[in-house]
Amino acid sequence: MGDRSRYATIFLQILLFSLMAALLGRLFYLQVAATEKYQDAALEIQSRNVVTPATRGMILDSGGKPLALNRVGLVITADRSILDKEPDRGVAALKETAKALKMSYEEVFGKTRLCGEKVDPSLTGGARCWNGSRYQPIPVSVDASEEIALAIVEHAERYPGVNASPQGFRYYPGTEGVNGAHLLGYVGPVSENELAASTSKKYYLNEYVGKAGLEKVYDADLRGAPGVKTIVVDRKESVTSTLKETKAIPGNHLVTSIDAKLQAVVERELVAAITRARAGVVDKKGPRKADSGAAVVMDVKTGRILAIASYPNYNPNIWERGITAKQARDLFSTKTGVPALSRALQGTFAPASAFKVVSVAAAAKAGYDLNGKYDCPAEFQVGNRTFRNYESKGAGRITLEQGIAISCDTLWYEIAYNEWLKDGGLRPNKERNDYFYNAAAGFNLGKRTGIDLPSESAGRLADRQWRSQWHDRNKDFYCNYEKRAKKSQLTPYLIAIAKENCVDGGKIRAGDAVNFAIGQGDTTMTPLQMAQIYAAIANGGTMWKPTVGRAIITPTGELVREIAPEKAGTLPVSKKTMAFLKRSLRAVITSGTAQWRFAGMPIAVSGKTGTGEVYGKNPDGSNKDTTSWFASYAPSDAPRYAVVMMISQGGTGSGTSGPSIRRIYEAIFGVQGQKIVTEQAIFPSAPPSQIPRRPKVDQP
């Protein structure tokens, strides 16, 4: 053997054994070092989940009456894993089913195709494909009659793979006449996005989940855990074995602090106020647009919501069997008033005179004598602009309490203007008092209340910081106003304002300061924020985080957890100022703007009206009407309830909302004429403190 030959042989030997060693090394990596990764991957390839949805828990009112429950419908399902094993791949069975259900065969065929399966669209009759798994029985019809369901179950040989079974549907029964659409929300099939984001929540395809309202916030409690059968399949998707099976765990019930009866009253009274405004019977100004509104009733001792309503609303059961395209469009259409929007926590409006409780706190801090006398002229001059009282009436020299009662604006103009000057006017001092802005911040303006309902608005606190940010965003527009604005916006007044905004729109001007003091201008609040503030005044200064959820109970009646009230802050108000506020708010009802609406009321109510100016025009070209506010609490000496109503473009606070506020209190306390009939009261003594352990449902 020559050297070349020997070396080549040795080289070959080394090469081949190195290759074998490489195989061993790679095997070690795949099967020992990284085996976990590959085991997971293998399981994912082989396993399929068949999901049995859990019975969703009910939503109950504070007495246990159901606000949301499950109605049972008869569902006809087709099981593809059985159908596909038929010699004709289930064609005959589906044809029989179509005949029984009086549907077209194409529709039944289309409904039982999986999304992603390649099917000629002309064969499916336009039916929607099934986005669940092949092993899950596919619903063909959800409201079969008992007769058809029985026929299918009894003649199983004619309908292989087809079955009829009762299935729960979410249903909002309208207990006591409640609508509650915004409050309760709705459920729908889990979306692709929710599935993708559900690492911790563990959603399954085709599961129903809460999409809005309480259904969404308390979804984790209500949903329970679906039963999951994990099966192992082969490449042809035939089942080879069952890996594990878990039973569905029914969801827990949510007990709310809502009282169904009161909720119905509040919803009715909200509509009554809107009707009143539209009819134009409240004052000389005639019919109002009254496009929307909201009302909130809060327990001032806990912040619990006893009733919450928004107008316009919609039928919560439109979601039950799939919403139509038109229904979906209408929900978000401005023509129908965007019924999907909950005005109580998403509608933001200038608070107007209802804001003056904040101004009182500011003035007291600034050292103004709450018991002193102030001028209330018909108008007040700030620079070259004239600021008027509502309806341009003067009241002479009056006490601050009277000023609140009759809602004098001009006395606030003077105080706010003086404070503005003291803080440096257009050239603000480095060291400023900012009494009004600080007080408003202390009342949590511009801050979400934190209610257990989704998508709450924060409103807006138009303080110095906001003003300067606003200017940075908009100065370009205002400095080129005549080029950028629409023709209809080129009025001399608007051009003048634009010029002003261009030059010093980033600063608080005197006009901004005086407007701020009477709740006008750019500051906005939600009705819920208003209720939080008035409840805090009523209870002596504690701002509660509003809550609707009261407790979670199991279907067998055990308490899972109580949802405790939480403090959200304390009003920045001294005891003396608080006493003054209480006196003044009572005076509003006894001798002030709301007196005419509360004559003969046997329950002492305190409150404040507000009539908010709104700039801008309606789509039909008319000027926007004023916002009607009424914020109140009762009984005045031992407050328990705060009631707030707001009607957008509704006219005056007392005129439009006043009577409805009164009726709500009458329902709560059982007032009949001028007497109190305790048996008629919704809450004879107080809101219920016991948590109901069982739903009060009439079992069929």
Binding site: M1, G2, R4, S5, A8, T9, F11, L12, Q13, L15, L16, F17, L19, M20, A22, L23, L24, R26, L27, F28, L30, Q31, V32, A34, T35, K37, Y38, Q39, A41, A42, L43, I45, Q46, V232, V233, D234, R235, K236, S238, T240, S241
Partner: protein
């Protein structure tokens, strides 16, 4: 080799011939081969049992055919050992001619059958198919060994003319295999040919030159589009397994997952869900190793690789102890063939080598491959018995 040693060996031969040939078989080699065949029977059964049962077929269909292939293969191997390997030279031209005719036949429509994109099969009556390329491997190895072992003009080492002759012997069947196209077999035969030229003692430039030529050839073939798209895809999915998730990438990913999920000890025979679910295509033939990976785990796979290493080690020893250059070249040719094919096949399932459709020697289901492999084993035993 000196003249003296040649005389001594000649003297020894007569003594050996009195002893039965079986007594001179290489025991470790036999143990390795027998063990691998036994494991192969289990793996083929595991790979096909549930599949056939699922549509009401005979779950032992593949098992029986595989066993029959092994029996025929063992008879062929035994037959190979009976004639002195040196006398095999006489039959080599006939074997070579049959292979070439077979390789031409597969290209004729009506005779050749296309499987997985390659015209590599001749369909016989009764559902039987044979793959002439497997036979060609033996013809080429023995043929080249014959040419390179001829002594010319007193040179110990093969000269240019020998190498060119050897290349011509290999080139005709290889070109026919390229046309099929069967890239895997081409690469394995090519590697074996280069190996044999290198170990024959020919000038180094031949083997280096051939390797360079192979590289240029591959580059040109890809550029000219001679290589079919699916072959390019296979290469691409070796480089980047996510490039073609539907077909080749899918197969490779499944193979890797199946093997990786086996873990240290495997899921146990007949207990692999990936295997019984047939998630890996071709799992009784080219991807048989995935079954071992899933059901026997790292321990089982390491034993299989060790058995192959034992087989290769014995093959080296047999080649080294061969009486003559011809025996040594045949032995090393067979060793290279086995070694490269084992690495190519297992490496493919592990993601170490590109995907080419070659069976795993002694384990994969498939008659032609089994026969050829066992004839190769027979050649090794023959050389051992007569050294």
């Amino acid at each position: 080799m000196t003249l003296a040693s040649g005389i001594r060996r000649k003297g020894n031969r007569s003594r050996f011939e009195r002893v039965a040939i079986v007594d001179r078989f290489d025991i470790p080699l036999l143990i390795a081969v027998t063990a691998l065949l036994a494991i192969g029977i289990l793996l083929v059964y595991a790979a096909t049992r549930d599949w056939f049962a699922s549509f009401g077929g005979d779950p032992e269909y593949y098992l029986k055919r595989h066993a029959l292939n092994i029996v025929i293969g063992l008879l062929l191997a035994f037959g190979t050992t009976l004639i002195d390997y040196r006398l095999l030279r006489a039959y080599t031209p006939i074997l070579w001619a049959i292979s070439v005719l077979g390789l031409i036949a597969v290209l004729i429509p009506g005779i050749g059958a296309t499987v997985n994109g390659a015209r590599a099969w001749i369909a016989l009556p009764g559902g039987l198919q044979i793959q002439p390329a497997e036979l060609a491997k033996i013809a080429i190895i023995v043929g080249i060994a014959m040419i390179l072992a001829e002594k010319h003009d007193g040179y110990e080492e093969p000269q240019a003319i020998d190498v060119l002759q050897a290349l011509a012997v290999a080139a005709i069947p290889v070109l026919l295999i390229v046309v099929q196209p069967d890239l895997g077999t081409t690469v394995i035969i090519g590697a074996s040919v280069v190996t044999m030229i290198a170990v024959s003692g020919a000038q180094l430039r031949w083997s280096v030159g051939l390797l360079g030529l192979a590289g240029i050839g591959a580059f040109v073939a890809i550029k000219l589009g001679v290589v079919a798209d699916y072959q390019l895809n296979r290469l691409q999915s070796f480089v980047d397994p996510t490039a073609d998730p539907q077909s080749t990438g899918y197969q490779l990913r499944q193979a890797r997952i199946t093997i990786g999920s086996g873990g240290l000890f495997g899921k146990g025979l007949f207990n692999g869900p990936q295997t019984s679910g047939r998630f890996v295509p071709e799992q009784q033939t080219d991807f048989i190793f995935t079954v071992a990976g899933e059901e026997f785990g790292f321990v089982g796979c390491a034993i299989i690789v060790a058995l192959y290493a034992l087989l290769l080690w014995r093959a080296f020893i047999i080649a080294r102890r061969a009486n003559d250059l011809f025996g040594r070249l045949v032995g090393l040719g067979v060793t290279a063939w086995f070694g490269f094919q084992i690495f190519e096949n297992i490496g493919m399932t592990l993601g170490l080598a590109p995907m080419t459709g070659v069976p795993l020697p002694l384990l994969s289901y498939g008659g032609s491959s089994m026969f050829a492999t066992l004839i190769g084993v027979g050649l090794l035993l023959n050389i051992r018995a007569r050294s």
